[in-house]
Symmetry: C2
Subunit: 298 residues, 2 copies
């Protein structure tokens, strides 16, 4: 399993699909839609769409399954992008740099960025429900919409974000940090995998295993984010390095030190792969993605 | 048709449904969900949910149709509430008062209000897709989700809001003001009516007529908002009176004067009722709602 070429090829497929399924920037709201495009096409890793497609492929080798799920994959990236735009706002993390580029509000103003985020979130649900963009039957669509809304909402990603903001510059136990990570980052990662699995017709048992896999790689992903924030340079990251410390955010390295944090990230990756024991070769991309999440450098 | 008692009884039904379908404020995100509740239960008129239910009843006299559509009605109110929270933010209209109460960001901070809005929008789509909260079949659910997402998104409500913000303190032609009104206010009003009609199994022809009705009452609604902003007191409105002038916002009265503006609002109401010519007594609430929108005082 050559993960780099796998990621490259899947990224190209996702980029092309985003171009296809994204609203074109036309009047009367051209500038607004351009602001949506700016962040959506700012060079994301497309991890969530790829996880969605890889989860689908792990249970279903129908060659059509990927194209059937591309609108779902694109919707996930729209939601992830909206969350980054809102996180970067002055009233939130106040970041000027993201993926090596100026953040939305530095270019479009606070109101422009806020509304670009609102529209990306809403457009995600438009894509998930548009007539004719997929052969997914309505009952699967509704189930996927619910999994994604639940993962992205008050008991998932946004909930985690509120707790992250509320606990800046405060001492709190490791359990709070784990709740933040599980929701702010983990929920949409697991939701992406669940959405792909539902779309591909996975059994309840397989979905349960994939949820464990998702929770574990989500944890690993966020621990590695903490590590990179503490150890990499701004140039390597494409966003402000060391910002967690500056902002008084609790992180895994602050609790456990660098070495023990690395060990825990690796353990989470091993746990993720163990959850896939009953899966055959079709889950090899998921296994390789788990390793990649641990070894990535930005 | 006694519109006041009709509105009162429907409002009670909607309030009860909102209590039922809203996420309870429980840990670990209790404070966040309480911020969602604060704005959702701050005394809204519930016009959009009521229009959704009235549109459904205008084409279908099954006594079950109302309860079937209550989750949809509640989702519409969640979306409307999120839009008000974001509109009131300091980077947008910077309003301290809404419905006679402190706005979300004055109580929960900018980040808290922003995220409460994000969660209300996402929760709307959760409600629209939850298993078991309605007997609406999946194909109708997907169609309703798409109508609502389209109305609320970049080519609807949010698009209109971007144009409103972009044109503050600027001279522009009446066509721009009409585009702002049609999208910022009109799109979700028409979307609410369409959602109800689809849920009730209206024919394509009936849906087309209801869309015309919706567009016309949406226009009248916004023109009356402009009039009230110019002529009523802050106490009557429950929000800052005269703020359009202070902010350099174009309005119907600024273009046409008070009298001609009143005439146009009334004309829109008449056009709305004309669109319902082919509808029987079951559309009487819609007819009365059109009159109410013209005569309301806040």
């Amino acid at each position: 399993m050559e993960i780099k070429s796998y990621l490259k090829s899947k990224r190209q497929i996702v980029e092309k699909a985003l171009q296809k399924y994204m609203l074109p920037a036309s009047e009367p709201f051209k500038e607004h839609i351009e602001a949506m495009h700016y962040s959506l096409f700012a060079g994301g890793k497309r991890i969530r769409p790829i996880l969605c497609l890889a989860a689908a492929a792990s249970v279903n080798n129908d060659p059509e399954i990927e194209s059937t799920l591309l609108p779902v994959a694109c919707a996930l990236e729209c939601i992830h992008t909206y969350s980054l735009i809102h996180d970067d706002l002055p009233s939130m993390d106040n970041d000027d740099l993201r993926r090596g580029k100026a953040t939305s509000h530095t270019l479009f103003g606070e109101a422009g960025a806020l509304l670009a985020g609102d529209s990306l979130l809403t457009w995600a649900f438009d894509l998930l429900s548009q007539t004719g963009n997929t052969s997914l039957p309505p009952e699967k669509r509704v189930a996927i919409i619910n999994v994604i809304a639940r993962a992205a909402g008050p008991m998932g990603m946004v909930g985690g974000q509120t707790m992250d903001i509320a606990n800046e510059n405060r001492e709190f136990p490791i359990e709070i940090l784990q709740t933040i990570h599980r929701n702010k980052t983990g929920a949409l990662i697991t939701g992406s995998i669940q959405a792909g699995a539902i779309g591909a017709g996975a059994s309840t048992n397989k979905i349960e295993k994939l949820v464990i896999y998702g929770n574990k790689i989500g944890l690993s992903f966020q621990i590695v984010d903490d590590l990179l924030n503490a150890t990499a340079t701004t140039q390597q990251l494409g966003k402000a390095a060391g910002s967690d410390t500056t902002r008084g955010k609790a992180t895994y390295p602050a609790f456990f030190g660098i070495e023990e944090t690395r060990r825990q990230a690796l353990q989470a990756v091993e746990d993720a792969k163990s959850a896939l024991t009953d899966f055959d070769y079709k889950a090899d991309p998921l296994r390789a993605l788990a390793d990649y999440i641990y070894t990535r450098s930005n």
